[in-house]
Symmetry: D2
Subunit: 144 residues, 4 copies
């Protein structure tokens, strides 16, 4: 039903800048905000594949929801840092995709995450198959 | 079409606590987050009047949107502070309400805001009259 | 070095209200924002024990940082929902505390989290023992 | 003491993408989040001039704080929109800068803001002159 994506051609990279909105009184990026950074990377990976969540929502009444996330925080990021987010697909199921995502500042690994997203129909929020054309693009790592 | 609410019985008070999520690397509450605090106060004022935005949205396809906001920042708030938000109605129109809102920490005035919200219909986002029963409750300052 | 807290008297409960700031275009609470809710519960649990992070930071130059978080999302929360956050201590080490945290809306379990926080010294961010008086309060579940 | 910057060469442009984190249950960008977008534009304008707030904070113990903001919301932005933020300097004083900032989606003007930032010293938060070399760069609109 699901399969290892051993052949996914290469990880996807996305850069984000740390702004004051991302920091907290500890002087570093607030840990919850890494979820936003990782989300942006997944969104841009979908966009690279020609998939927008807006289209999914308006034309198919389906959305991707996050069903699981885990993050290990290794080192802090600070104001003005430029972070590189690296995304690997770990597994693609019919209605879900599992990602391994890492945040780096240069050679320093700041945070590592596992994220599972599930495609659900609205408004009942039940799992629904990812459109097959999109699944194929995800597996091949190429746009339409 | 609109009128001064000279007789609004008394200002509405709401307390919020400052958490790490609200702060920034300057060690103080991030200025944009006062808009959240003021929003919470308006929401709780509506709830006190027996009005929930969820109900407005689902039963009438109307929502309140903010059309204007201005804030003067006078003094910073810090982690663990308890803030008191004071809300006055300045003007009620058929489809809009203007508020004066202040944030205090004890006797210290931290920020003052003017906020105008407009009631609009979905999905076209055009101004639409606030339900008259709700207008009356706002003017009288009492629940149903 | 660390021990199971089998005798921790009872879980800690904290209620939060869902405001528009917490939601996203899917019409539900944005998943990253549960980390804020869980953080508020931990902060209030510390406050109940007579411990404030502000004091820890200013008097001892130590802060609690989150080193690991994992969340399973089971059901969505919506605008105006009142959520109950339930916090259990799973393990207390010399410089770290592990929590199990759950979010409920009435009888519905919305999200479950595991969170590990580490006490570190500033500015070098190295693990440093939690003050022993505070450790004792955490283990006993009572204030000073 | 302050002067109109009639000769500021040209407005500064910065693009941002709307992610799910920026939206609310109304299906549009949450109004408070425009303050983040406008902040990012000011930060990138400073960076263009060779000025980073991190440097200001660590080497001079000074920070820019927002003392006033007002925003008129004209039209909503949605998920996946790319917004262009246009920044004009309205006035430069010895310790403050006033900006006019606009948000556009293509030809549609979404929001207009006035923002005043003041340079203050830490930790007393009193106004302090912006370093003269930086003032000159702001007035000339060029980097060092």
């Amino acid at each position: 039903m699901s399969k290892r994506v051993s052949g996914f051609p290469s990880p996807f990279h996305w850069k984000v800048r740390v702004y004051i909105e991302d920091t907290d009184a500890g002087g570093v990026v607030f840990y919850a905000n890494y979820l936003n950074f990782f989300e942006r990377a997944r969104t841009e990976w979908l966009r690279r594949l020609g998939i927008t969540q807006q289209e999914l929502m308006s034309s198919l009444s389906q959305v991707f929801v996050v069903s699981h996330v885990s993050v290990d925080y290794l080192a802090p990021a600070r104001l003005d840092d430029e972070l590189t987010l690296v995304l690997h697909i770990e597994r693609i199921g019919g209605a879900s995709v599992s990602f391994s995502q890492r945040a780096w500042r240069g050679e320093v690994n700041l945070a590592n995450a596992k994220v599972k997203v599930v495609c659900v129909s609205l408004p009942d929020m039940r799992p629904k198959a990812i459109p097959s054309a999109w699944l194929k693009r995800m597996q091949d790592g190429v746009s339409a």
